[in-house]
């Protein structure tokens, strides 16, 4: 098992296609600039009253997701290429679970809270 030889069509997560150093640095620079822009927009939107207030949470979430995407592409070099299939599948499974856990928890807990008396009324006091 040699280290650099790429058998078949597979790439380690985080590895890029063979590029020269200049191109690679450029990739990080682009990523950094995009991320900084998105961050600045997020902070700006959160603090301003120039935009319609109820849209702010949605905008923040969208910006956050966009920025995560930027990180994934420019820093972690996750692409949709065939050499990345396995990496992307694992990521998709992870995201599905994250989505189910967070979404499910929030949904379930909202309903439980709506239907339940506060806990201290139905539990005995400590011994």
């Amino acid at each position: 098992m040699s280290d650099q030889a790429h058998i078949g069509h597979d790439l380690a997560p985080g590895d890029e296609e063979q590029h020269d150093v200049g191109t690679r640095i450029l990739g990080y620079v682009v990523g950094l600039v995009l991320a900084l822009l998105l961050t600045a927009t997020s902070f700006f939107i959160a603090g301003t009253d120039l935009v319609w207030q109820p849209s702010i949470p949605v905008a923040l979430i969208v910006l956050a997701i966009a920025q995560m995407g930027v990180h994934l592409v420019f820093f972690l070099h996750i692409t949709t290429g065939p050499d990345n299939t396995n990496n992307v599948l694992a990521l998709a499974f992870g995201l599905l679970v994250v989505f189910l856990v967070v979404g499910g928890t929030v949904w379930i807990m909202a309903h439980l809270n709506a239907n339940m008396p506060p806990m201290d009324q139905i539990m005995p006091k400590p011994m």
Partner: protein, 666 residues
């Protein structure tokens, strides 16, 4: 200096745990002394404790599980006796003791019996079935095992130093919060699970990576044996679900140690969030356990029917479907807590849906057997016993997943019967089937069939005699975890259940006898060909036990049922005898990293439980240093020269040729 630890931690006033602890301690000491005196210590250290060979680690996992099965089983016996006699009386176990026992029983059976058993079998078999030399991360594999052992050690330590949790195997708050459980019991529980949880996570990552990245040439996804698929699904679930357990227990620990308010009654904490999170792990967990068992049954049924697995692709699909859907049903564990009809309905429906792929599997096994030439060897008995039993367990499961029915049955003995039905009938039967099936592979001789069959029949009938009464008692309104009761109708059923427990114990004794007898007769039972069952997948293509490097050269895979087709081809071609070309083989070197790391983890866990902060820091530094030392080593592999590989392989090839030509002559 020693935190909360002082002499009052030793339960001098309670004879049962003290005597049990003393007996175990003496036994361990005796074994240790025997090992040292006989001079086996270097062998143990070099060949087992520091081994990074997946087969050895698999065997150690299974050994740990078997020992813990005896411990968890003793708890079960004590509980059954208690409930048989505690009618209108206190029985012989005081409530706080009874509560510790059922908590320890559940914790041990799930985390230190079922988990290590299936992980051990996966470790042992999957690299062989994939045709590779080892798992993806051999040293981490050893770390994972030893951390699991640490968890088991801590749980058993609680028997003699301090106490164990009285909160059930899931430690629900607010009962498990500091205000209701000020002792160290819950801390023992939580820290053992945190530490062994790290071990499980490591094993999960390791096996996922092994299956996805280490298959031998030609082993396309759709050529993998079914057991590899279920291993993949089960370990994906480990990787995705165990972090939830870790986070949830971390929250509980933060509440207890630092006065946080995740699950407390005061300051806005929310108990229901614990239920929610723990079951978000808990439901996937049951599939983590049972999916590998499904894989084992698939291998066993197809081998002993002499046929390829029926509906291989639908089986793959069903496995992966279960893997995803099992994350969408967790609310069925707390229907009664008031999430309301909409939420309940959705989760109820999802729970029914997950029964569909399971049904598909059952049909596939039946069709595999249909028309086959079935041999009822012991592994096959377990498989058939499983099919019967698991159908009943699945049905009662679907029943309690109907919200209105669950309002009647939640927390009743019916529920206890249900989950034992699936866990014993599914996981444990599967583990035993796998044990009987792969034992010859691991050790080079078969197990005695007579004792094996006896063990099966006692366990099988014992299971029904124990748990059918619990179903009935549940319908008669008996709730779970009762230390005593006053309802006359329940009494007879509890007595029958105790009789069943006795039969189960005889089953276990038969299994031990089987081991003893087989070891005695090992020469007669020797498997020289490496293929004692006329198997179909690659693990049977190498000798029993396999050499460290598993395969002398990369197996050539061109379809499903690889080894079966090799045999067919070999017979058709009347065997060309040309010798393959052997190469040097690089193997990972053994390393004490896992053992040393677990040593420090034990110190750290113990210190955390007893609030001995300097010791915590010491343990942490030790663990970190262990990894640095490991990272610093210069040679992580050694080379087995081609000549040695050839010498080892020739012997096996000779045996195998004579087998094939004999079979060909028939």
């Amino acid at each position: 200096m020693l935190g909360k630890l002082d002499w009052s931690a030793i339960p001098f006033d309670q004879p049962i745990p003290l005597i049990a602890g003393a007996v175990v301690l003496v036994a361990i000491l005796a074994v240790l002394i025997w090992v040292v005196v006989k001079g086996h210590l270097p062998y143990l250290w070099n060949e087992w404790i520091t081994s990074v060979d997946h087969k050895r680690i698999g065997v150690m996992y299974i050994l740990l599980a078997s020992v813990m099965l005896l411990r968890g089983g003793s708890d079960a016996i004590m509980m059954r006796i208690q409930q048989a006699i505690a009618y209108q009386s206190q029985g012989y176990l005081p409530p706080e003791h009874y509560n510790q026992i059922f908590s320890a029983h559940g914790t041990i059976m799930i985390f230190f019996v079922a988990m290590p058993f299936v992980i051990g079998l996966m470790n042992l078999v999957v690299p062989l079935q994939l045709g590779v030399r080892d798992v993806a991360f051999p040293t981490l594999n050893s770390v994972g095992f030893w951390l699991t052992a640490t968890g088991a050690l801590l749980v058993n330590l609680s028997l003699v130093i301090g106490e164990f949790a009285r909160t059930g195997w899931l430690a629900f708050p607010p009962l498990s919060e500091l205000s209701y459980s000020p002792g160290v019991g819950v801390d023992y529980y939580a820290w053992s699970l945190q530490i062994s949880g790290v071990g499980t996570l490591v094993a999960g990552i390791n096996l996922v990576t092994t299956v996805l990245k280490l298959r031998t040439r030609g082993m396309n996804y759709l050529r993998m044996p079914m057991f590899c698929w279920t291993t993949l699904a089960s370990n994906l679930l480990i990787v995705a679900a165990f972090p939830i357990l870790t986070a949830t227990l971390a929250m509980l620990l933060l509440d207890r140690y630092l006065g946080f308010h995740f699950f407390t009654n005061e300051a806005g904490g929310n108990v229901m969030m614990f239920m929610n999170l723990i079951w978000a792990w808990g439901h996937p967990e049951v599939y983590i356990l049972v999916l590998p068992a499904f894989g084992i049954f698939s291998e066993v049924v197809s081998t002993f029917s002499g046929k390829a697995l029926f509906g291989y692709r639908s089986m793959v699909l069903a496995t992966m479907a279960i893997c995803v859907i099992s994350f969408m049903v967790w609310l069925h564990h707390f229907f009664t807590m008031g999430a309301g009809p909409d939420v309940n309905a959705i989760f109820g429906i999802a729970s029914m849906i997950i029964a569909v792929p399971t049904g598909v599997k059952i049909y596939n096994w039946l069709f595999t057997m249909y028309g086959g030439r079935i041999r009822f060897a012991t592994p096959m008995l377990w498989a058939v016993g499983f099919m019967v039993t698991f159908i009943i367990g699945g049905l009662t499961g679907v029943l309690v997943a109907v919200p209105p029915a669950d309002f009647m049955l939640h927390n009743s003995m019916f529920l206890v019967a249900h989950f034992h039905n699936v866990i014993i009938g599914g996981v444990l039967f599967g583990a035993f089937a796998g044990f009987e099936y792969w034992f010859p592979k691991a050790f080079g001789f078969r197990l005695d069939e007579r004792w094996g069959k006896l063990a099966f029949w006692f366990t099988f009938t014992g299971f029904y005699v124990t748990f059918v009464p619990l179903y009935v008692a549940g319908m008669l309104g008996m709730t779970r975890r009762m230390q005593h009761y006053d309802v006359a109708e329940w009494r007879p059923w509890m007595i029958v259940a105790a009789v069943g427990m006795a039969m189960l114990s005889i089953g276990v004794i038969c299994q031990i006898m089987q081991l003893v007898v087989s070891i005695r007769n090992r020469e007669a039972l020797r498997d020289r060909t490496g293929d004692p069952w006329d198997g179909r997948s690659l693990e049977w293509a190498t000798s029993s036990p396999p050499p460290v490097f598993n395969f002398a050269f990369d197996p050539d895979v061109r379809g499903e049922d690889v080894y079966w087709n090799m045999k067919v081809r070999a017979r058709q071609q009347s065997l060309e005898h040309e010798e393959p070309e052997y190469h040097d083989i690089e193997m990972p070197r053994n390393s004490p990293t896992g053992f040393v790391c677990a040593f420090f983890a034990t110190i750290m866990g113990f210190a955390l439980i007893w609030h001995i902060w300097w010791m915590v820091i010491l343990g942490g530094i030790g663990a970190f240093a262990t990894f640095v030392v490991f990272a610093w080593r210069d040679h992580d592999e050694y080379v087995i020269p081609a000549a040695e590989v050839a010498a080892i392989d020739r012997v096996n090839l000779e045996e195998r040729r004579s087998l094939v030509s004999m079979a060909g002559a028939v």
